[in-house]
Assembly symmetry: C2
Homo-oligomer: 217 residues x 2
């Protein structure tokens, strides 16, 4: 697995490089700025890029886009300190394939990278659960989920998990096919999956009763 790591903490950067190498992976680039990171990805086209979310002024987010443009097959996995976990939802929405905390052991990080390259959403269940749960209370950090799924999208999710087709869904929701299609599309994008089935699998694997908005349960 070819990997580029991009983080401004040089100590962590080098340590991660060594650790990943020792696990049998090929670390083809170590970058300390988003620019270097994007350049390294463009040059080496790695399988996955570990990218710090902590770069200032949203440069991490724009780096996601640049990386995906420069090397579409490269999966971007966000790397974050605990204090920054708030943007897990945002990261995925912007095109990241995964999100891991710096406090996690190397083995778990490698596992998440594996998931990412297999095309699966690579988010620790604990974070995913929280990200999936809509934040209704004003005291909750809205960045946590950005209302990860809207009410309508949760309803669409229900239809999907009932095995309904687009048409059935449209009639149960009382909208046009095209609208139902759009909702499904947005849903898939937000969950970072590529089929309704994967979306259903994701929710049934990580979902708890509390995952669902109370008024839709």
């Amino acid at each position: 697995m070819k990997i580029v790591v991009c983080d401004d903490h040089l100590l962590l950067l080098e340590a991660l490089g060594l650790a990943l190498s020792s696990k049998g992976h090929e670390v083809v680039g170590l970058a300390s700025t988003p620019e270097e990171g994007v350049a390294a990805v463009a040059e080496h086209h790695p399988d996955v890029c570990l990218l710090d979310v902590n770069f200032p002024d949203g440069t991490s987010i724009s780096a996601i886009h640049q990386i995906r443009e420069a090397s579409p097959q490269t999966k971007v996995v966000m790397l974050s300190a605990e204090a920054d976990h708030g943007i897990v939802g945002r990261s995925i929405a912007e095109g990241a394939a995964g999100y891991v905390g710096k406090e996690k052991p190397i083995v778990e990080i490698v596992e998440m990278l594996d998931r990412a390259v297999r095309g699966q959403l690579a988010v620790e269940p604990s974070l995913l659960q929280r990200a999936l749960r809509p934040q209704k209370s004003a005291t909750d950090d809205p960045l946590w989920s950005l209302q990860f799924l809207t009410d309508r999208e949760w309803q669409v999710m229900r239809c999907i998990m009932d095995g309904q087709t687009t048409e059935e869904m449209a009639s149960t929701l009382g909208v046009q096919r095209s609208t139902a299609r759009t909702h499904v599309q947005n849903l898939l994008t937000k969950l970072g999956v590529h089929s309704r089935l994967q979306a259903a699998a994701l929710i049934s694997a990580h979902g708890t009763p509390e995952t669902w908005p109370a008024h839709l349960r």
Copy 2:
């Protein structure tokens, strides 16, 4: 909902007719033999036909085929006494859309008929669970499930519930796409559903840990 009922117990037949009528459904035919039942279906093209499984010499099974041929949109729901529950799997495999026991209250039977016309598999969870569980022990009645799903099909089911596409499935199973397609096809037919998603919904709704063959859990 237009209904034809076919059962050789005249008392039950008429009682069912009255009961269904009182529930607001249109009973367009009451038949006491498979022949009459098929004829009634051919004439009225009902939404659903309640058919006794207890007719001799497999005439119930052949009646399923005749009904589906004469009126493809008509759903066949098998009606059985407790002693005959053994062929629930067979019934579905032969094209029935559902299976209800005569001991059930009218409301449940109506609910199952509703499920059937909505295109869902109409089998009581308790029976379904037993039908889904492969019978490994020789003391179990083999007719119960007819090895409802084969080992390979359970593996395919796993892949489906993991959200894999046909191609991914083929590679994890080490076979050609076409083979994986065939397994999926057989699986859908056996479960009486029309999409992978519905199959996944079915198993996750009715499946228990014991539903899965021990060596594949």
